[in-house]
């Protein structure tokens, strides 16, 4: 039996365990928690197939099975299950939130909004209703509405820390960096020991061009977690923006060479410092796994066209992130080869299409300022 480990049959003395809807339900929960969603779906289906499972547990079983379907990207089945769960327990806010997540994934925004509004009505004190709806608006470019949603946990004092963090992000997406900084500052005041708050403020400083302030926060973060490669890379990129190319290269040279992004950035900062990389090609980078095609290009074995082909290889569902990153790094590659005219449109594309979270967006903005 494939999932024998999880089927903890129970017996009193020598009485053997018997399968029942409840034991199937329990096994489903355990399997789902172990990441065995396919098997979990089978056990939940068994539990739901026959009468006997307690009425209170049926909506949980539907919800859990729907969550498994969602994890497996089986969205129609997930929606069916969430719907069945909500018929039995219409006010379960967890199920509403999970159904809204799937609806957003399917771009059925009106339905997702309806679920999230209902969630807000049922539990106005819970942050996810506002956070999810705000994030949906933000992704749709409806920044006013996003900011309105993220302001609720601040205004009603249910979760101001989350509100400040989310709203700062929305302000950044909107280009309102001063407001973002205000929120980041308020968050740091509210949570002075929070590294996430300090990280947010450092990021806002960086996007505003307040590099010395950003560096101060990064140094504080690194003092707390000196072994974090993400922080070191962030610091290296900040050095690059400050045109301290040797400092940036010094850090990047110490980072994991099997991480394709480290290798790309090392090449970029060396080129900016007038030292074109002559390093041997890293051996541990998979050329087919993103950003591998970019590494191949930087090593002189590929072309912008081959990168483009790799990005679109997945058909119409190719990754928007790959598209954004492809534009930036290919643009940088053209700059390294003094092909400014070819670089400019790609960098403009990165600066306008990359979402604010991607370092490539602000890096493209910095480069455009320099070449214009």
């Amino acid at each position: 039996m494939a999932f024998a480990w999880f089927c903890a049959g129970l017996a009193v003395a020598s009485v053997p365990a018997e399968a029942s809807p409840y034991s199937d339900f329990n096994a489903g929960i355990a399997l789902r928690n172990s990441g065995e969603c396919r098997e979990a779906i089978a056990r939940f289906s068994s539990a739901l197939a026959v009468p006997g499972l307690l009425d209170d547990l049926r909506p949980v079983a539907f919800h859990a099975r729907g969550a498994c379907h969602a994890e497996l990207n089986e969205y129609p089945a997930a929606l069916d299950d969430f719907g069945d769960s909500l018929k039995l327990d219409p006010n379960d806010y967890d199920t509403l939130a999970d159904r809204a997540s799937v609806l957003i994934e399917l771009k059925r925004y009106d339905e997702a909004e309806a679920d999230l509004r209902k969630l807000q009505n049922i539990r106005p004190d819970l942050t996810p209703g506002y956070a999810m709806l705000g994030a949906m608006y933000e992704a749709l470019g409806k920044y006013h509405q996003a900011i309105e949603q993220f302001s609720v946990p601040i205004d009603n004092e249910t979760n101001p820390a989350a509100g400040y963090a989310l709203r700062a992000h929305a302000y950044l997406s909107y280009g309102r960096t001063r407001d973002a900084l205000d929120d980041a500052e308020d968050l740091v005041k509210l949570k002075p020991d929070s590294r996430a708050a300090l990280r947010l403020r450092a990021w806002v400083y960086e996007l505003r061009g307040d590099y010395d302030d950003a560096m101060r926060d990064f140094d504080a973060l690194i003092r707390g977690t000196p072994s974090s490669p993400d922080l070191w890379r962030s610091k290296a990129l900040l050095y690059w923006k400050m045109k301290r190319y040797d400092d940036a290269a010094g850090i990047l040279a110490t980072l994991d060479p099997s991480d394709g992004y480290n290798v790309l950035w090392l090449a970029i900062v060396r080129a900016a410092g007038g030292k074109l990389s002559s390093e041997p090609a890293p051996q541990k980078i998979d050329p087919k796994k993103w950003p591998g095609p970019l590494n191949v290009l930087y090593q002189g074995h590929g072309t912008p066209e081959s990168v483009r082909a790799a990005i679109t290889a997945d058909g119409p569902d190719y990754s928007e992130r790959d598209e954004c990153e492809g534009a930036f790094y290919v643009g940088e590659w053209h700059l390294m080869h003094n092909e400014v005219a070819l670089a400019r449109p790609l960098l403009k594309k990165a600066a306008t299409t990359c979402v604010v979270d991607y370092v490539e967006r602000s890096a493209a903005e910095v480069q455009l300022e320099q070449i214009e």
């Binding site: 480990w5 129970l10 003395a13 029942s20 409840y22 329990n26 789902r32 928690n33």
Partner: protein, 338 residues
């Protein structure tokens, strides 16, 4: 796409909370806080209304309340509790020591906070503050100004208002009917042995004791080896340290039966390599659990307070579990025994 609740984490509950008496004031006005503590802050031990002092002459159990027990997707269970007039779901956590309240709620309601000598969750996540609520109402009992540890934000569940722990639970007999989705609370004044009301079939009576930190522990048998287990409804998984598993069950470094589960997170933050081993049988008295699912984790990440075995909700949900704190015993049958 990010699903809020889909992360598979190993969840343990608090192992080392300081005693309530250790609470120290954060403010400089120490005398005021201490004065209030003496005058109006009874220890949580005495907080719920004492049930009837003597057992019923007919030896019927004195039922105090029946609560709807909500099963979360993780398998953990919550019951309704009201704090300062706000009702919400509280996770029932027999493996904890002191009840806890969410940081968000404490902040929103402006609960008074006191610094403490602190406690540590498995995985090393510390909690260092106590909030003083005006009241907690649970199962018809009004608890005045209970001190509640604050759930660290890093492990907080957004939906759960607090964690209900043995400082409150142990004033009752607590009966977990997982299959019926109900938690019954009975008076602890019952006739000895006259507890198992839900079935005429077989049951096991297992002595429990409180360890130094106040966790309920019981002797269990796992594949012929006796272990001390914490009965922990607040832990999603049943968990055992790797060193102990190797020593007791002679599991070699290259034992192919020991399967790596990769890196799991303890309480959502502490990464730790986890394993699974095909144990055959876990025995609690006369009750046997076949093929128990026990997660084995590297001990180094668990800190100094590692118990031999944490018996988590994944295993406990298969039982009808009646904890008689005052009697020092728990009564168990299969969950669906009627």
């Amino acid at each position: 796409m990010k699903f809020r609740r889909f992360l598979s984490v190993v969840f343990f509950s608090l192992t080392a909370a300081s005693a309530v008496a250790d609470v120290m004031p954060a403010s400089s006005d120490e005398s005021e806080v201490k004065g209030e503590s003496r005058a109006s802050q009874p220890p949580t031990d005495a907080a719920p209304t004492p049930p009837a002092e003597k057992p019923d002459e007919n030896c019927t159990l004195g039922e105090i309340a029946v609560l709807k027990m909500h099963t979360e997707l993780s398998g953990l269970v919550t019951v309704p509790v009201t704090i300062d007039g706000v009702e919400g779901r509280w996770m029932v956590d027999t493996g904890n020591v002191t009840s806890m309240v969410s940081d968000t709620f404490a902040t929103r309601e402006g609960l008074r906070r006191l610094k403490t000598s602190g406690g540590t969750f498995l995985g090393g996540i510390a909690t260092t503050e106590v909030a003083i609520a005006r009241s907690v109402d649970f199962a018809g009992q009004h608890i005045y100004k209970p001190p509640l540890f604050i759930v660290p934000e890093s492990i907080a569940d957004n939906d759960t208002l607090g964690i209900l722990s043995p400082d409150i639970l142990r004033h009752f007999d607590v009966d977990f009917d997982f299959a019926a989705g109900q938690m019954h609370l009975f008076s602890p004044q019952h006739c000895p042995g006259k507890v198992v009301y839900w079935t005429n079939g077989g049951y096991a009576r297992i002595p429990i004791s409180m360890d130094e930190e106040g966790h309920p522990t019981a002797a269990i048998d796992l594949d012929g080896k006796e272990l001390t287990a914490i009965i922990d409804t607040g832990s999603q998984n049943s968990v055992m340290p790797l060193d102990l598993a190797k020593r007791l069950f002679h599991i070699g470094a290259k034992d192919t039966a020991l399967k790596s589960l990769g890196v799991k997170l303890v309480n959502g933050t502490k990464p730790m390599v986890a394993y699974r081993y095909p144990f055959k049988q876990l025995t609690l008295g006369a009750i046997q659990v076949g093929n128990p699912d026990i997660t084995i984790v590297e001990e180094s990440g668990l800190g100094d307070q590692t118990p031999q075995l944490v018996l988590g909700i994944e295993t406990l949900r298969q039982l009808h579990l009646y904890i008689a704190y005052r009697e020092g015993a728990m009564y168990v049958t299969p969950a669906e025994a009627r």
